[in-house]
Symmetry: C2
Amino acid sequence: MNNLLIIGGSDAGISTALRARELRPEVEVTMVVADHYPNYSICGIPYYLSREVEFPEDLAHRKTADIEDAGIRLLLGHRAERVDPPSRTVAVRDERGQLKTLEYDGLILGTGAVSVKPGIPGLDLPGVFTLRWMGDTLAVERLLDEKRPESATIIGGGYIGMEMAEALTNRGLAITVIEYAETVMTTLDPDLGQRVTERLAGAGVRVVNGVGVEAIEQAGDRLTVKGSGGFRHVSEMVLTVVGARPMTDLATSAGLDTGITGAIKVNRRMETNIPDIFAAGDCVETWHRLLNAYAYMPLGTTAHKQGRIAGENAVGGGREFAGCVGTQVVKVFDLVAARTGFHDADARQAGYAPLSVDTETWDHKVCYPGATPMLIRVTGDRTTGRLLGAQIIGQHGAEISKRIDIFATALFHRMDVEALNHLDLSYTPPLSSPWDPVQISAQNWLRKAEQTK
Amino acid sequence: MNNLLIIGGSDAGISTALRARELRPEVEVTMVVADHYPNYSICGIPYYLSREVEFPEDLAHRKTADIEDAGIRLLLGHRAERVDPPSRTVAVRDERGQLKTLEYDGLILGTGAVSVKPGIPGLDLPGVFTLRWMGDTLAVERLLDEKRPESATIIGGGYIGMEMAEALTNRGLAITVIEYAETVMTTLDPDLGQRVTERLAGAGVRVVNGVGVEAIEQAGDRLTVKGSGGFRHVSEMVLTVVGARPMTDLATSAGLDTGITGAIKVNRRMETNIPDIFAAGDCVETWHRLLNAYAYMPLGTTAHKQGRIAGENAVGGGREFAGCVGTQVVKVFDLVAARTGFHDADARQAGYAPLSVDTETWDHKVCYPGATPMLIRVTGDRTTGRLLGAQIIGQHGAEISKRIDIFATALFHRMDVEALNHLDLSYTPPLSSPWDPVQISAQNWLRKAEQTK
C-alpha cells in the first residue's frame, strides 16, 4: 500500500485521509474533491445563512492549507467519472474538461449524499433551492443579500428545515414550514415534535403539517407553493430540504454492491465487495448497533467514525465500526431536542416490548437560580428491563446534548434501565441533582414498569 | 420485616426509606433525625449563604410534609444514643432529655460525617465556624446579617472552601483562602488547581498555599489566623472547612466493625457485620469500582446510591452497590472543574502505568458564537490502553459536567481510550463538534501513547 486515493473531501474522506497518514506517514494520499470547499461543515450551513458564522470559509472544519500540511494532496474541482477495479484506476475530469487517470493501491469512496428532490414541477425556478453544497449555500446568500426577500417557504420539517427556519427568522424573513408528516422532527415522537412546532410558533414561524407539496409556480418575484387539499402559499423564496440519498453512481458503475437502502454495501471494516475499495460516510449503509442490521444514517458524526475506520484498514488495520445507536440533537431557537436509540414505535418494530415513560425534571437543583425544566422520555423493554432509547427536550444551556450522550453511552454497552442508577455521575447544585435527571427518569421508568407488570 | 428504623435524615437515610417504601409499602419506616432539617442539601449551603437560594428551607431536597406523605414517620430532634443488637432496640433521646426505646426488625445507620476540626486553639471563638449542619449555616448567616463583616478567612481549599469563597465574595466580603497543600482543589492535579486559584484571584480572592494553620486568636471583632512560617492574617470571620470524617460513635459502641478509613465496614449489599444492620452514606466505607477496594468518599451522589441499595436489601432484596469511580464537579464563579477516575499520581499508586495527555479544545464549533475553550486531561494505561480517568476545566455553560459523565460512564464499563471514539455522541454546531471534545481528547491521548511507546 503506497498510494491511497480518496474520492470526496467531506467528513468521511478527510477522516480517512488523516487516519491513514497518522498511522502510515509514508503513504501517499490523494483526495479528489468536486468543488473547491473541502471538509466544510454541512451542518454549519444554517449558521452561515443566519449570519452567526461570519465568513463562508469558517464553515470548513479544516482550511485547505491545514489539509495539505497534513500531507494530503488535494485535487480540487475534479470530478471522478469512472472507477476501473481491474486496472486500479479512476478517471477524473477537471473543470476545463481535461480527463486524467489516477492509479490507486487503495481506494476510498466518500462521495456523500445528494439532496432528495421531490418529483414536482418548479424545483428549478429562480428562488427555489436545495441546501447541501457550498454552491447552494452561496446561491441562497446571494439571493438574500441582493433581493432581500421578506418571506420564505421551507419544504421539509427535519433538522435542516428547523435550523433554516430559525436562521431566516433571525434575518427578518417571515417563514412558513411545510411538512408532509403530522409533526415536524419525525426523528422524535410526534408529541415532542409538537413541542418544537410550538417553539417555532412562538418565534412567529408558521408550520403546516399533513400537506404534500405538488408544485411550485412563479409569477414575478412571487413563488406559489401548491399542495394537497388545495393548499396555496406565496413567498419570495423556497427551500426544499426533504432529506438526502446516497450518491452511488460512481460506485455502482464500478460494480460495487448496494444494500436495501440503495447505499453502498460495506462490512464493518468499511470494505466494499471489491478488494481494496472502501467506502464511508453518507454514501454507505451504516451498521446500527441496536438493530444489529444496516440502516441509512447520513450524519457527520457517523461519517467521521467510518472514515477513521476506513483509513486505518486501508493501510493494513483490522478495526471494525462499532455501529451507531441513533444519537442526534438539534437546537431550535432556545430549545434543544435530542434523541438516541429507539422510540416506542421503532422498538416495537424491532421486536421489543417497549415501555416509554416521561419524566419532567429540572436540569439542576431548583433552589439554585436558572433551573429550567426538561422532559426526558425513557424507552425500555418491559420483559428484560433493557434500555432501548431516550428523548430529551428542554432549554439550551441545560446540558441536554451531553445528557443524551450518557444514554447513548449506556446504549452502547447494552445497559438495563436499572443500571443507570449505578452510574457515578457528577453533581453540584448549579449543574445537576444528587440523582442526575438521567437517573431520575430511569427510576421513574422502573416504577412505571413495576406498576404495569 | 415489618419495621425499619433509620438513624439519620440526610441523603442516605432518605434514599433508604423511599426505596424500602417503594418496594414494600406495608413496611413501617421510622426515621430518627437529630435536628429539625431532614433531607436538606449540604452541598447547597454555600448557595444559601451567597443568597442565591432565598430561604433556608429551600435547601431541603424534600419538605417534611413530602417525607411524611411518603409514609415515613419522622422523629425530629431525636438523637440515637445506643444500639442494642441482641434486643434489636435503639435508645433515642428527645430534646427535652426524654429517653425512648425503639424496636427494629431492620436498622439502617445513615449517621453521616462531622466536620474535621484541626487540633488548634481558637476554633470555639465567636466568629469561627465549621459548616456542615443547618445549625452551622444559620449561625453563619446570623453573623453575616447582624455584624456585616467585611472580611473572612477560609481555612481549607476544597469544594466547600471554593464555593464559600465565591459565596462570600458575592456578598461583598474580602476573602482569603488558606490551604496547607501547594494548590487548592487537591482532587485535581496541581496545575489544574492552579487554574482555579487564578480564577479566584481574578475575583479578588487571595489564596495562600503551603501554610499550616496553628491558632486563631481574637481581639475585639478581629480574628487573627496564625500559621506556619510566621503567617498572620486578620479578618472578622473564619470558616474552617478542611474535610469530613465518618460519624461512627453509635456504630462502634454497638459492636460494628470499622474499616481502614475509620468508617463503618460494609459489604457491597451495604450490610454491616451484625445481622439486619445496614449502613450507608458518609458514615461508611465506599466500594471504589476502579480500585477494587474500599475508600472513604463522603458525597451526596454516593450516599443516595448506597441508601437506595440498603433500602432494597433491608426489605429482602439482594442488590449490590456497583461502586463509585470518583466523579466530582465544582463551579467556582464561571469556572467549572470536573474529574472522574484516577489522575496520574493515584493511577501509579494503584499499580497502573499511567499516561496523562492534555487537550485544549472548544466546547462547540468555534465558528458558532459563544464557543469557549476547555482543557481535558485524559489518563490511560500505557500498557493496556485502558481509560483510567479524566479531568476537565473550562467555562460554566460548556457542558463540562455531563462531559465528565461520559468519561464516568466509560470508566464504569472499563473501556479503553480507543473505544471512546466509537461512542455515538450527539452533535450540532452550537453544542459540539462531529468528534465530541471527549473523543478529540481520546485521539490525542492515543497519538501521544503511540509516539512515546
